[in-house]
């Protein structure tokens, strides 16, 4: 069994919201595994079940070999949990937060101080260690969060939307930190994100989650390779359905997906296909406003499997049902 093993998890909240409709995936020891999807897709609910914070409606999950429902204590000892909401005490200093966390995670008192010093150094908070957390910047708070999750040297770390709400610079810095983490500590990381580039950059493997289900799973490259050829996006005036119908007639086109005012076409070779696509649409009397050609990205993978473009803010925020 992998480090994390999830089988057909379901969860329906009290207000009838079906957050999960059968989520399954396996995370191997030592890999960074991503759950990618928009808000409300079920990522946070999955992580909360795996952190023993909420009970699944059905299905099974094992973390570090412990069943999340029947052996929550075993799970809690094995994991570091860095939640979406910061979870650090704003009225404590960085060091106080870490010391308390070390204590409740059963780090022996004689080890705790050295461990906390080492972590403060590692996340670059040694100088701010004795300042109250409510004076920290967003990036400092996030680094403290991660240190909190690592204080007991867990074998598995959950990072729930680690870079949400951070400015691009801080995000890039955090990505570098996470790279370092992977290199130095070889721990298993379960990461949720609604940033495609983040999943692409950090994850060894990932699962795309949409409406409470895993729609596809694989390495970023496998997923991108599964999309043949190039992607041509045509912005059209008016509805995209008739344009999609016109393009489907062409032999060079593998697949066409209408998406709002644009049509996305998969073709063998973009450069060769574009004249044909344009001609076909002109013949159908459809005005083209813009044509873009791109190599497949995770965004295209996402579109292919879910039938809609990735829009991080599309669904209701997760946690509304709680």
């Amino acid at each position: 069994m992998g480090a994390i093993s999830v089988k057909s998890l379901t969860k329906t909240y009290g207000n009838g919201v079906e957050a999960l409709r059968g989520v399954s995936f396996e995370v191997e020891q030592g890999e960074i595994f991503g759950l990618l999807g928009p808000n409300g897709a079920g990522k946070s609910t999955t992580v909360r079940i795996l952190a023993t914070l909420t009970q699944p409606g059905g299905g099974e999950a094992y973390v570090g070999g412990y069943n999340v429902v029947t052996d929550p204590a075993g799970v809690r000892r094995s994991i570091g949990y860095v939640a979406q909401a910061s979870g650090v005490d704003p009225w404590g200093t960085g060091r106080e937060n870490l010391m308390l966390q070390a204590h409740i995670l059963r780090v022996p008192s004689d080890r705790a101080r050295a461990r906390v010093d080492e972590l403060l150094e590692w996340v670059g908070l040694t100088e701010a260690a004795n300042k109250l957390v409510n004076t920290y910047s967003g990036g400092m708070k996030r680094r403290l969060d991660i240190a909190m999750g690592l204080v007991h040297e867990p074998s598995i770390l959950y990072l729930d939307e680690p870079t949400t709400g951070l400015d691009p610079e801080t995000r890039a810095a955090l990505w570098r930190d996470l790279d370092e983490l992977r290199r130095d500590r070889k721990l298993t990381v379960l990461l949720t994100t609604h940033y495609l580039e983040e999943a692409d950059r950090l994850c060894d493997r990932l699962a795309i989650v949409d409406h409470g289900k895993v729609v596809v799973e694989g390495t970023p490259n496998e997923l991108k390779a599964a999309i043949r050829g190039d992607t041509v996006t045509l912005e059209v005036a008016g509805a995209s359905e008739p344009a999609a119908a016109a393009l489907r007639e062409l032999d060079v086109v593998y697949e066409v997906i209408p998406n709002g005012t644009s049509v996305v076409a998969n073709v063998a070779s973009g450069a060769a296909a574009i004249p044909q696509l344009v001609t076909a649409l002109e013949r159908a009397g459809i005005e083209i406003e813009e044509v873009t050609l791109s190599r497949p990205s995770l965004d295209d993978v996402y579109l292919q499997y879910t039938g809609h473009r990735f829009d991080a803010g599309e669904a209701a925020p997760e946690g509304m049902g709680r």
Binding site: A85, G87, D89
Partner: protein
């Protein structure tokens, strides 16, 4: 059990630290009793002239009432802290660790009992400065602290329970506003029992605030010690029931989260 005690201790330290780091809280805690004692002491000064009033010094009568009232209101707001933890993700972060669940509640209840004791000492000293007397001596003063701490522990447990069930500051504020003043006025905090309408005197018998006020007043005067003990036992039972309520509320929170 070993973890329960150690976790309670570490969490208690955190709560105390937080309290001491909010200067407004310390300011209000120190000045509010002065206002209560000075203002009500002046406003109702001549109440003692009503025939049948049991005391001839209103400040003497009022001091134990203000001690208990402060304990009651101070602890009734205790749930705000757990809502803040819940909102900020602190509670979830802790629940994802092996921390003793009972310690999460126990540390807050103990913290309420402790702050209430400190406040009570301040009010007693103020009362003495303003002219009250403690014929009950050191034993009487300690009994007052104990009764206030018990009441504070009980109401902080209820407040935490309500906070966990509703998870909203607004609801907790509404509940406290609804029950707060009535519970104080359905006690002998401001008015002697002999002068109360019968129905109020009857209702007051089941009011923990009234138990604490009556017990504290007897202890202060050093009289009716068996009554003081009885009120103490009643309050201890109240703490147990309130504690049971809050742990059940905690279970429900974890189940429904």
């Amino acid at each position: 059990m070993k973890h329960f005690i150690a976790d309670t201790y570490h969490l208690l330290i955190r709560h105390i630290r937080t309290t001491l780091r909010i200067p407004v809280w310390i300011f209000v805690t120190l000045t509010q009793p002065v206002i209560w004692l000075a203002l009500y002491g002046q406003l109702f000064r001549r109440v003692v002239e009503i025939p049948g009033f049991e005391s001839d010094s209103y400040i003497q009568f009022l001091t134990p009432g203000v001690v208990i009232m402060t304990a009651f209101f101070g602890s009734a707001w205790a749930g705000m802290g757990i809502i803040e933890d819940l909102r900020g993700g602190v509670l979830d972060r802790m629940l994802a660790t092996p921390v003793s669940r009972s310690a999460l509640i126990a540390s807050r209840v103990l913290h309420a009992g402790l702050t209430v004791s400190v406040q009570s000492i301040i009010i007693l000293i103020l009362g003495i400065i303003l002219g009250a007397d403690i014929p009950g001596g050191l034993g009487g003063a300690l009994a007052i602290l104990l009764l206030a701490a018990l009441l504070g522990a009980g109401f902080s447990a209820i407040s935490n329970g309500v906070a966990l069930l509703t998870r909203r500051e607004e609801t907790l504020i509404a509940v406290i506003n609804f029950f707060g003043m009535p519970l104080v006025f359905l006690s002998t905090a401001f008015m002697a029992s002999e002068l109360m309408p019968n129905w109020i005197r009857f209702v007051a018998r089941g009011n923990p605030v009234n138990w604490a006020v009556n017990g504290a007043r007897d202890a202060m005067l050093g009289q009716h010690w068996s009554d003081v003990w009885a009120y103490g036992l009643l309050l201890a039972a109240f703490v147990l029931i309130a504690g049971f309520f809050s742990t059940q509320a905690f279970r429900m929170y974890q189940r429904s989260a």
